[in-house]
């Protein structure tokens, strides 16, 4: 179990180093405004007709992302069913043969 301890030490060191980088990045400046946000807040609900700006972006400007997300969900559902069902499938095959 000597190597296990060594690994743990290495792990902690690497994680701390990564954390340091993350922290260093997070301490940066926070720009006050951006054009995109201004435009979206200004015109978003007018252009898409949705009062909820999140929905306006989610289903209006970035509907394509949403479709990708729905595809992921579809795949996940089908995959979960596939794996969860496989014991039954095996049984069926056994009965058949």
């Amino acid at each position: 179990m000597k190597s296990g301890h060594l690994l743990t030490v290495l792990e902690v060191a690497l994680l701390l180093l990564t954390a340091l980088f993350l922290l260093q990045a997070l301490q940066g400046p926070h720009p006050e405004s951006s054009d995109v946000r201004g435009y979206l807040v200004e015109n978003g609900s007018h252009e898409t007709g949705a009062l909820n700006l999140v929905t306006a972006i989610y289903l209006g400007y970035r509907a394509f992302d949403t479709m990708g997300e729905i595809v992921v969900l579809l795949v996940a559902v089908t995959g979960v069913i596939y794996f969860a069902a496989s014991r039954e499938r095996k049984d069926e095959e056994d009965h058949d043969s």
């Binding site: 909820n52 999140v54 929905t55 989610y58």
Partner: protein, 77 residues
């Protein structure tokens, strides 16, 4: 206010990963999710809070409960 809740979330997450009883781990993860939902709400993101409540506490917990139910409740490692 947010800081306090975040600190609580840190404690929760460490505990959820460390605890031996898997059901308690799922429960703590649910509590983590609820707290993060509250934090999102405090950060003026009701949509994200809604989704997190629905997903983290609802679907996530159900699926995790399923796996604990189907496998072992004690984490031997």
């Amino acid at each position: 206010m947010v800081e306090v809740l975040l600190a609580l979330m840190v404690v929760n997450s460490i505990l959820a990963l460390q605890i031996r009883d898997m059901l308690a781990a799922v429960l703590l993860l649910g509590a983590f999710s609820l707290l993060s939902c509250l934090v999102f709400f405090l950060m003026n993101a009701p949509d994200v809070a809604l989704t997190e409540a629905a997903v983290g506490t609802g679907v996530g917990t159900v699926v995790l409960i399923w796996i604990v139910y189907k496998t072992e409740r004690r984490d031997e490692a």
